[in-house]
């Protein structure tokens, strides 16, 4: 049989089996599906709202029944009043903004510093043995512990505050990247190498995208640490601009309990809002693209 004949026969044979293949594909394929808005709201938004409602209800109940001293636990309405007051004095937004700006810019700085550190620690053996454990240990050191030293060394203003943020969140960002890189399946690296993705091309086209989920987890934690560190720093260090931590401190000094509770709530809400607004969507997008939510292989 000549080679063109062979090719023709093979083509015919293969197209028979292609129909079988196409049938299998239909049976096996996963249809991409989107969730209707109504369901997203019902499944995602409703449960937390119910919990918030319950907590508020319980709080009001405790307050109304007079189970505790009203000076120590003011009711929700009194806290709301404090909020209203702040809003009317037009100080609410500047206070929140001061802290958010410090938190975000500090966090971005931490990303810029922590990422190369993470890359080097993950890829260079001696560096890893030298500072890997320290980096891990730093993560469990509460950043509030740095505040006194930072204030003495750097003065009680913005510089000290930023230093504390960085000490809190750089280790998270770096460790996240290290963990992300460690979790990259060797198969991907080998596949990349057979395609010619070596050296920098390998880092860019294979290593970084493959490590992204772990890196993002590190970024999420980095944001949380940066926000916590900022509040710790603002409580103790003093700087001209009034942030949430400083506001909380001033309310404590004024024995203004509704103000104290308001401060705590604002810190909590801003932290959650940033997480929901920036981190969660990126992460969800990434995981969905990779089919992680399907608990796939």
């Amino acid at each position: 049989m000549s080679s063109t004949d062979t090719a023709a026969v093979l083509e015919k044979d293969a197209s028979d089996s292609a129909e079988v293949g196409a049938g299998l594909d239909v049976l096996d394929g996963v249809a991409a599906r989107g969730a209707p808005i109504a369901r997203i709201v019902r499944e995602r938004a409703l449960p937390p709202l119910i919990v918030v409602g319950l907590v508020l209800g319980l709080w009001q109940l405790v307050f109304v029944l007079g189970l505790t001293d009203a000076d120590k636990l003011p009711g929700p309405a009194m806290v709301w009043h404090s909020l209203d007051e702040l809003w009317c004095q037009e100080t609410l937004l500047p206070i929140v903004w001061t802290s958010v700006w410090r938190g975000l810019s500090g966090f971005l700085l931490a990303v810029v510093i922590g990422t190369p550190i993470g890359l080097v620690v993950a890829r260079v053996k001696p560096v890893r043995t030298a500072i890997g454990p320290v980096l891990q240990g730093l993560q469990s050191l509460p950043s509030v512990a740095w505040v006194p030293a930072a204030v003495i060394w750097l003065g009680p203003d913005n510089v000290a505050i930023y230093a504390v943020i960085l000490l809190g969140s750089v280790p998270s960002v770096a460790n996240g990247l290290v963990a992300g890189i460690d979790q990259v399946p060797p198969l991907f690296l080998r596949a990349g190498r057979t395609m010619g993705a070596t050296g920098l091309a390998g880092v860019r086209h294979v290593l970084i995208p493959a490590a992204l989920p772990g890196y993002l987890a590190g970024l999420k934690q980095g944001w949380a640490f940066s926000w916590r560190s900022l509040m710790a720093a603002e409580l103790i260090a003093s700087s001209p601009e009034l942030g949430l931590g400083r506001y909380l401190q001033s309310r404590r000094e004024a024995a203004d309990m509704p103000g104290v509770l308001l401060g705590i709530l604002l810190i909590l809400i801003v932290g959650i809002a940033i997480e929901l607004a920036f981190m969660a969507p990126i992460e969800r997008h990434l995981l969905r693209d990779r089919g992680v939510q399907d608990a796939d292989r």
Binding site: L10, D13, A18, M195
Partner: protein
């Protein structure tokens, strides 16, 4: 019925005449430091002629993947030499190894990019390759949206995108069900003939080896050596369940079992 033509050959592994697509010469491979050294491959000499389809058969752990990795350049032989005159060969793994952060089409385009195909041509070429593996509509699909068989076909397209005439396959269909595997056997046979590829295909499925190959090479275990080889002259397309394939499979299986039994005696 076609008579079964088998030609047990001398254990040299050499193909007569011409420049081979792959030339493996006296390759040894050991792992570990002296003391706890395991000798995995022992004096392997094997050629793959241009356009030839060779299957490498052997028991689990005999060093098939090790040999393929050496040919792919992922590792270096302890001794001996490997030449692939046509440049870096393409390698397909048992797991699809597609990058989940890219779509099927973009996976192929990455391979094209790394092979130096200019950007404006990549999209069209990727779609052409997807068509070749009969997945014309899959360009924008995410890896997790594809079935196991579809993934292996995209992986095949990605391997072909590297533009190498030499294709190394390490049990690429082992994780698939029998029907899907059948379909992919037809596809790889067709593509091999169409593109005149030189294929070195690893498997421990004897029937698969006979179904696909022009030449079946049996490796012994511990250390891995070329134990014997068979030239398969059955005409393509073959059916895996045909009696020609079955008869020869029985013969080769007997040999393979003998190879494995050898290890019990000492």
């Amino acid at each position: 019925m076609t008579p079964v033509l088998t030609t047990p050959q001398a254990v040299t592994g050499r193909v007569a005449g011409g420049v081979p697509a792959v030339r493996i010469s006296h390759v040894h491979k050991s792992f570990g430091r002296s003391g706890a050294r395991t000798h995995v491959l022992d004096d392997i000499t094997l050629d793959v002629a241009p356009g030839e389809f060779v299957t490498l058969l052997g028991a689990s752990g005999c060093g098939k993947s090790t040999l393929l990795n050496l040919v792919a350049g992922l590792d270096k032989p302890s001794r001996g030499s490997i030449e692939v005159p046509g440049g870096r060969p393409a390698l397909m793994f048992q797991e699809h190894a597609l990058f989940p952060w890219l779509t099927a089409g973009k996976n192929i385009e990455l391979a094209l990019k790394l092979a130096g195909v200019p950007r404006p041509e990549r999209r069209a070429e990727a779609e052409r390759l997807l068509e070749l593996v009969r997945l014309a509509g899959a360009y924008g699909k995410r890896v997790h949206e594809l079935s196991g068989g579809m993934r292996q076909r995209v992986a095949m397209a990605r391997a072909l995108a590297q533009g190498s005439k030499v294709l190394l396959m390490d049990e690429p269909f082992a994780a698939l069900d029998a029907i899907t595997r059948d379909v992919l056997h037809d596809e790889i046979t067709r593509i091999w003939a169409e593109r005149q590829l030189s294929v070195l295909f690893v498997t421990h499925n004897v029937r698969e080896a006979v179904r696909l190959a022009q030449r079946v090479v049996l490796l012994s275990s511990r250390p891995g050596r070329v134990a014997r080889e068979w030239r398969i002259d059955l005409p393509q397309p073959r059916r895996i369940e045909s009696s020609g394939v079955a008869d020869l499979s029985i013969e080769i299986t007997e040999e393979l079992r003998g190879e494995i039994r050898r290890h019990v005696q000492h």
